[in-house]
Amino acid sequence: MTRYSAWSVFKNGLSGHKNWGRAWRDPEPKTEYDVVIVGAGLHGLATAYYLSKNHGVKNIAVVEKGWLGGGNAGRNTTIVRSNYMMPGNRDFYEHSLQLWENLSHDLNYNVMFSQRSHISLLHTPAARDGAARRYNTMRLTGTDAEIWDLETLKREVPHLNYNNARFPIMGAAVQRRAGSARHDAVAWGYARGADQHGVDIIQNCEVTGVNRDGGKVTSLETSRGTIKAGKVGFAVAGNTSRLWGMAGLGKLPIETHKLQAFVSEPLKPLLDQVVVFGVGGAHFYISQSDKGGMVFGGDLDWYKSYAQRGNLPIVQDVAECATSIMPCLGRVRLLRHWSGVMDMSMDGSPFICKTPVDNLYLNAGWNYGGFKASPASGWHFADLIANDRAGRKIEHFNLQRFERGINIDERGAGPDPKLHG
């Protein structure tokens, strides 16, 4: 497999870039693996990569019902940040951001991670106080954080609606190390990295049944035959409840909801940062891709859904937010919009944990935060699977936390999955 470098680009240039090798193999499934990860999204691929790289596990497969990166991995708005406050989330997301900072080098694949600043607009004194508390907590625990006054904000982001807004902008809470990345490249980079370490990535291979012998999973039924497995990890984003059901395990603190995203026609450079707008009922985030498209999104569709298609009321909401915060976008045309289905958990926080079945491990409940989390999620899920115990950074992400009253509810929204925006 070629190592990508300036030299390899030059060399392949000599033959018109027609002779690049495959980035990963397309193997037939073997009958048996030591570890099978279900779901080739970012979390599944990262897990396989770190299992092989950090823990030397050899015989690993990732099985995917569609094509790798075709789920939420390739549908998100690519925001990466670590401005979480709650114990449990704080350390975990900061670790993820640190992994992002070196990810392109580690994978030898340019994931275009761009630390362009994440700017949450503030509109009321109460919001500013809340942000100051959160951002001070971040600073006290080793993460960069700033509160900007209006003058600084106007200088850094000149195109916002400073004149005429229903809720005038007062300033912003800013994390400069946050930013965005190219989501497809992250999936491909992890896939290539895992493949180089010998992981079989098997696409078009849907898991349709989970065979158990009492307290253990023995094999998976798939659309490409039965695959025996020593250990199994689920990383299937919005489909967790279905796989959980196949394993005969009953209910979960999860509902499946869909989230839409939007991209406009390409524009000349307009917005250098990620900007977030949330006041009253509004919820909106926007950035500009390297190709020039304005990439943005808002709330969930509010009702439970497994359909990977969005509905019109959110299109309207999001368009209203866009024009109220950046009126200059009024005549910009929308190029595409789409949706993905995600596990919304009861407190908005994830699960990386053991399950009632001995050799079955769960990675789920990623809500809105699953893109930024993927490096750390893979890192710690791999550690959990390899060592059969939860490391310190994920010890809170278990299924028992609701019984024990230690929910990790960043938003304080209570046990209603659709509210954890």
Partner: protein
């Protein structure tokens, strides 16, 4: 757009309604065990397919409704008032007089 046929107001866009929750949940008695409350408050079947759920006609008659809806196709199979009292009021009063009463208000 999903269209919901409210038994009081007729067929409307779903943007008039707020999604509530899973209507199959039965809340246990106040002094029930922690396990029973934990299950009712936090655990969900999360069906892909036909499920029974509550919706609130918040920008309409403000009634709570129980709707059978497919979570994969969004097809709606049935809509009925959530409270039995409403349901009997509905059968007692024919629908057209209901809307006249609304106009007189």
């Amino acid at each position: 757009m999903i269209r919901i046929n409210c038994p009081f107001c007729g067929e409307r866009d779903h943007s008039e309604f707020a999604y509530g929750s899973d209507a199959s949940i039965e809340y246990p008695a106040l002094d029930a065990s922690v396990e029973e409350w934990h299950e009712a408050v936090f655990l969900r079947e999360n069906i892909r397919g036909m499920q029974s759920e509550t919706w609130h006609h918040v920008n309409g008659c403000r009634s709570w409704l129980v709707i059978e809806r497919d979570t994969m196709t969004h097809e709606i199979k049935s809509v009925r008032p959530a409270h039995n009292g409403y349901a009997s009021a509905l059968t007692a009063a024919p629908k057209d007089t209901g809307s006249e009463a609304g106009e007189q208000e």
